[in-house]
């Protein structure tokens, strides 16, 4: 359904006009990130030239003295001064600066105080923020907030954990100022699922496509995100580094690692000093264990800017890959000092703590990550793992379930969930989980054998046999690894017994024969073979005695599974 939204052809000239206005408006309000984003988009359509009559650069309204003063203070990060001198200003820009500088001042102080202690600031000590919120609330009720101030109100609400309210406010803000990318971005973080997304009343603006793609990416809905990005790509934004980076992230989420790495390489080629999203690139390199590339990336990043969160993450990943976990933690901590809301660092730090067996710290980190973004499945998964260590299986189930819901097509989550169910002796649930994991591809390759064992436990002999057979087919050629070997001969043994019980002596013989190949069950294998030989003898004798009756019997045995249960009792090696 996003197809119909996208199909409207973009009018690049209008887009450019919008962009120029947007850049100016955002820059005048000190919204530098939005201005940067808009400027990047604008740069990517550098070929588009505006007709001369549209140039509207010299109708700038005269700025008031107070605004100019405040703006210069603002640029120098003297926020309190800025807010003081704009206190009585009524024009929208100065008013926004007044409020925004107050907000930034609060945030800056929080950060500054954090440098003394390593812990994140206590969220309950937020009196100043609450007061700012009260001021904004009052203005909001009087309808005195313009689009930018609404955005600020939303930010404050979000900080105060009033997310549903914040979502409404951001929607208002976007409807008033569709060119302010920051508001879109914040909204994207708050939209919990697709149904909510589709119920939002958003303006029909070209920015909406960027937003939708962003949201889909956030919601790990990579396919739809990629569709939109391809579309944007083809409509004139092919040079946009932003679109490229987003596509790379989408590939990353789809676990098409090589493609993602390619994209990032291209990206760095056209924009070598870019640090944005490099943390994801470093994750990719980490997963692929490309040590030299990662080292190279770390060096480049340090050269560009040592004190950027992305740089710190890249270095952290680098150290982690070299198994220097405490050093890695140090760098993630540095990243968090620079920006306590930086999601990747929290999650990665959690992983490092896990490596260092510091479960408490790991839990803290993961929880913080979830505070920042509830959709971080890695953090949920990590939490599940820590609680597994702490032997709190119910919590474990909850966390794995969260992770699984975020990544319904990832077999690792559901496998972990199944293992926990198994620990709780909820075999049916566990079995369902393993089954699903197998259906999803079973990345780690352990789901199948677990499934087979559970089938066995639940007396589903046919299913168990089927699963074991499949397992043997898959894993039969992989030898040497101790664990799999163990599983494999167990499988052979089971299958031999199974077929023996059902009188399928040929199959039984084949599997029993395989058993002999392994030292541990050589004896059992031999015993089985003996048994098979005995049976064969008996069978032949029976055949000779009464052919018609025994034929009947034989067909019964082979066709009817119910009989096999009975026969299991007689079998000597019923395991």
């Amino acid at each position: 359904m996003e197809g119909e939204i996208i199909q409207t052809k973009l009018d690049l000239i209008n887009v450019k006009k919008d962009l120029i206005i947007g850049i100016r408006e955002c820059a005048q309000r000190g919204l530098y990130h939005s201005a940067k984003w808009l400027a990047e988009i604008n740069f990517s359509i550098v070929d588009v030239t505006l007709p001369p009559d549209v140039h509207t650069s010299n109708d700038l309204p005269l700025e008031t003295e107070a605004y100019l003063l405040a703006k210069s203070y603002f640029d120098l990060k003297e926020y309190d001064r800025c807010s003081f001198f704009t206190e009585s200003c009524t024009d929208s820009k100065a008013r926004f600066l007044h409020l925004y500088s107050q907000y930034l001042s609060i945030e800056k102080k929080k950060l500054d105080n954090m440098t003394d202690s390593n812990c994140p600031p206590d969220p309950t000590k937020n009196n100043a923020l609450r007061q700012l919120c009260a001021v904004l609330k009052e203005d909001y009720f009087l309808h005195k907030l313009d689009g930018y101030c609404l955005y600020l109100y939303g930010i404050v609400l979000k900080k105060l954990d009033l997310n549903s309210l914040a979502m409404d406010i951001f929607t208002d803000a976007i409807n008033e100022q569709p060119l302010h990318w920051g508001a879109w971005q914040e909204l994207a973080l708050l939209v919990p699922d697709k149904t909510t997304l589709l119920s939002l009343r958003l303006p029909d603006h070209w920015m909406k496509s960027f937003f939708l793609a962003h949201v889909y990416l956030e919601q790990l809905n990579s396919e739809e995100a990629l569709d939109i990005y391809y579309d944007l790509h083809s409509q004139g934004f092919e040079k946009s580094t932003y679109v490229m980076a987003q596509m790379a992230i989408a590939y990353h989420n789809r676990r098409e690692l090589d493609k993602a790495i390619m994209m990032f390489k291209d990206l760095l080629h056209s924009d070598p000093y870019r640090l944005d999203n490099l943390d994801i690139y470093s994750n990719l390199l980490y997963v692929k264990e490309m040590k030299t590339e990662l080292a190279n990336l770390a060096h480049t990043a340090v050269n560009i800017d040592k004190y950027r969160v992305e740089t710190c993450c890249v270095i952290g990943n680098y150290y982690s890959l070299r198994a220097e976990h405490s050093k890695a933690v140090l760098y993630f901590q540095r990243a968090l000092k620079l920006n306590p809301q930086y999601l990747s660092a929290w999650t990665l730090m959690g992983h490092e703590f896990m490596e260092m067996k510091n479960t408490n710290a790991a839990i803290q980190s993961y929880r913080q990550a979830i505070e920042v973004n509830r959709r971080d499945y890695r953090a949920w998964y990590g939490l599940g793992q820590t609680y597994e260590i702490l032997k709190m299986p119910f919590y474990c189930i909850y966390y794995y379930k969260q992770a699984q819901q975020l990544r319904p097509n990832d077999s690792r989550m559901i496998l972990a969930l199944g293992e926990t169910y198994e620990k709780l002796e909820k075999h049916e649930n566990a079995l369902k989980c393993y089954y699903k994991a197998c259906n999803l591809g079973d990345v780690e390759g352990t789901a199948l054998i677990k499934l087979a064992k559970l089938y066995d436990k639940l007396d589903e002999a046919d299913n168990a046999a089927a699963a074991y057979t499949e397992y043997c087919l898959k894993e039969g050629d992989q030898r040497g690894v101790y664990e799999t070997e163990n599983e494999i001969y167990n499988a052979y043994q089971y299958l031999a017994n199974y077929h023996l019980k059902r009188g399928q002596l040929e199959d039984a013989h084949a599997y029993a024969y395989k058993c002999i190949e392994y030292d541990e069950i050589k004896e059992q294998g031999k015993a089985l073979l003996k048994e098979i030989a005995n049976r064969r003898g008996e069978l032949e004798a029976q055949l000779l005695k009464s052919t018609d009756q025994s034929n009947q019997n034989l067909t019964d045995c082979t066709n009817d599974g119910n009989v096999s249960n009975m026969e299991m009792v007689f079998s000597p090696l019923n395991n």
Binding site: N127, F141, L142, L165, Y395, Y435, A466
Partner: protein
């Protein structure tokens, strides 16, 4: 006063000395505050006139101003003037009062028969005291009023507050301009709000002044009345009730609040809903620039707004409506103009305590103690500073000093009580509050606090009784209503509790969508708890969510929401909210226990994954298709399991909601 020229008095013509000149000298030096010089010459005049009562009176006056109280008393009484001249009597009593000899003062007061004096005045027949009663042309009713006021003060100092308040009332009846009497009645909380109202309407204002003046006086006095039971949304109109009678009543609170700002330029536009951005700063500016405004454009009322007293009463109003930021802005503005505005200081200090601005309190207290070590308010400020920074012992020390300087200083007594209350010293706290309640008969706060302490010591019945008393005094105070609700809740009378809370909410939030001060978060939460008890879960959730909007990121609210969800069998939601609560307060045993329970429940009742089949799937060889989604979704296995409140004995602790009202 400067009635030196009256010649009715016998002047002794010595050779070439004009005694009137000396008398003039005395007056001049008195005006110049050169009391010693005045005393010297007054003494000579007395000598020259050989004891003219009027001259003796002035001599005593000089002594009084020199703080030689006993000397003055002795002078007046040795000449027996305190029995014959009303003004001399008055002065004697004044001196005795200053010298803290209350019994003596009362004796002297009673020795002069007021009735005779009054009759002498009214009948105006020949009587010595008629002439002698008054030296100057001070109007008799004012003298009478002053005497009554003085009597009131003496009685109050002797802890006879009932009689004292009668005296004040009489004084006010005699002279409606006698502000001191009115102030004593209101500031010392002698009357309840209703009684104050009654007093104001019973005053013979219209008889004693012109219509215009009457309006002014009425407005001014009204601004001094109690404000506990008033809501910003309704009351600020009082200040300009005469100016725009046509203010639309349905304007929202905020707009009305703004009216205050608009008062100054009302004549230009009365439409209060326009969207100009009037910040408080502008109000201040307007106030500053007021003088520059064209006087013809502003009425008397409007110009009177310039008086700081009226701004103080506005600040007080904000204070009682828990809008401390706004209040603090106003008081700071006042103190900028008049750094030691006495009636503003208590409000200002209390406000800073509420906002926990210890730095400001520190500076203020230092200044005050340096300048006015003899004022109770200075030490009150010091005590408050220590209270805010958590050093209760020191706080008590200085608050005690404050109360010893002025035993009638109610706020210090209350703060004294609070300093005990926060340390859970319930008995001591109650003792302090009792003292305060004796001093402030017309104020319900001490009773309210006593009730709270009773409640905290599990004496619910007693607590209820105190709250009822408090409610008698201030029937409209939402705080009292709230506490009544809490008591009802504790008595398991949830219906009644809900009603009380709803009443309180109606007072706090007169208009839908209006802004409720953050302070009222417990009220909403308690409403939520009550609704939960009444099994109105949806409503309970609604109230808790409102509370969390008022005061975001509160662990208590979150776990209450989680609890309601748990009772509604929204196990997933419950887990989410308990997690949030524990994120903010890790040692919350209630949430921990609940979370353990709920998360276990969740793992039982939820499917392993969203579209899990309800049967054991069969495994097909080499078939990796997952198209068995067609199976009908199974209902959760144990969905019917009911969590009853009884098997979870932990109850959300409502008592900590009680304490919020302190400080």
């Amino acid at each position: 006063m400067a009635g030196d020229t009256d010649t009715e008095m016998k002047t002794v013509h010595t050779d070439n000395i004009n005694i009137d000149n000396y008398r003039k000298l005395v007056q001049t030096y008195l005006n110049l505050h050169a009391y010693n010089t005045a005393l010297f010459w007054a003494d000579k005049v007395v000598a020259l006139t050989s004891g003219n009562p009027r001259d003796i009176y002035w001599l005593a006056q000089c002594m009084f101003l020199l703080k030689q109280f006993h000397r003055a008393v002795h002078l007046l009484r040795s000449k027996n003037l305190d029995k014959t001249y009303i003004l001399c009597n008055y002065l004697t009593v004044r001196c005795l009062l200053e010298a803290n000899e209350f019994n003596e003062a009362l004796k002297v007061l009673n020795s002069m028969d007021m009735e005779v004096f009054l009759q002498a005045n009214t009948i105006s027949s020949y009587n010595v005291s008629v002439e002698a009663g008054m030296f100057d042309d001070t109007p008799k009713y004012q003298v009478q009023s002053s005497v009554l006021l003085l009597k009131g003060r003496v009685l109050e100092a002797m802890d006879n507050r009932g009689l004292a308040s009668d005296c004040y009332k009489q004084a006010l009846q005699c002279d409606v301009y006698c502000f001191e009497a009115f102030d004593a009645l209101t500031q010392h909380h002698m009357l309840s709000a209703a009684e104050e109202q009654e007093l104001l309407s019973s005053l013979p204002i219209s008889q004693q002044c012109t219509i215009e003046e009457a309006e002014v006086l009425y407005t001014l006095y009204k601004s001094k009345l109690k404000k506990y039971n008033t809501i910003v949304g309704i009351v600020p109109n009082k200040n300009k009730k005469l100016i725009f009678n046509n203010t639309p009543l349905q304007t929202s609170t905020v707009v009305i609040r703004k009216n205050f700002a608009n008062v100054l330029d009302t004549t230009r536009d009365t439409s209060t809903t326009e969207n100009t951005n009037i910040s408080e700063n502008e109000v201040n500016k307007n106030l500053d620039n007021k003088v520059a405004m064209d006087p013809s454009e502003t009425s008397v009322q409007v110009r009177l707004q310039n008086s700081l007293d009226l701004v103080v009463s506005q600040a007080e109003l904000y204070y009682y409506n828990c809008d401390y930021v706004q209040c603090s802005k106003l008081t700071e503005h006042i103190l900028k103009q008049d750094p030691y505005h006495t009636s503003c200081l208590p409000i200002h200090i209390s406000c800073q305590v509420e906002l926990k601005r210890s730095d400001k309190l520190f500076t203020l207290a230092h200044n005050l103690v340096d300048l006015y070590p003899n004022l109770a308010i200075s030490w009150f400020a010091v005590g408050c500073y220590y209270y805010v920074i958590g050093k209760r012992d020191s706080a008590r020390k200085f608050l005690a000093k404050s109360t010893s300087l002025d035993r009638l200083f109610g706020p210090a007594w209350l703060a004294f009580g609070h300093s005990f209350a926060v340390e859970n010293e319930h008995d001591q706290a109650m003792a302090a509050y009792f003292k305060a309640s004796q001093l402030m008969k017309g104020c319900h706060l001490p009773l309210l606090y006593i009730g709270l302490e009773c409640g905290l010591t599990n004496n619910v019945r007693l607590a209820e009784r105190f709250f009822q008393q408090a409610q008698l005094i201030a029937p409209d105070d939402p705080f009292v209503m709230h506490e009544m609700g809490v008591i009802a809740f504790q008595n398991l009378e949830y219906k009644a509790a809900e009603k009380h809370f709803q009443d309180a909410l109606a007072r706090v939030k007169p208009i839908k969508d209006s802004i409720v001060p953050e302070r009222w978060e417990p009220l909403l939460n308690n409403l939520g708890h009550t609704c939960r008890k009444l099994k109105k879960y949806e409503e309970a959730l609604e109230y808790h969510h409102q509370a969390s909007v008022l005061s975001p990121q509160s662990a208590g609210t979150y776990s209450a929401i989680g609890y309601v969800h748990a009772l509604m069998n929204n196990t997933g939601e419950a887990v989410h909210w308990f997690h949030k609560a524990l994120g903010l307060r890790r040692d919350d045993t209630f949430s921990t226990t609940m979370l353990n329970y709920v998360i276990e429940q969740l793992s039982i009742e939820q499917l392993p994954y969203p579209d899990a089949p309800d049967y054991i799937p069969t495994f097909e060889l080499a078939a990796t298709t997952g198209e068995d989604n067609t199976t009908h979704e199974s209902e959760s296995i144990n969905a019917g399991r009911q969590i009853s409140a009884s098997d979870m004995s932990i109850e959300i602790d409502i008592s900590d909601a009680n304490t919020f009202i302190k400080e």
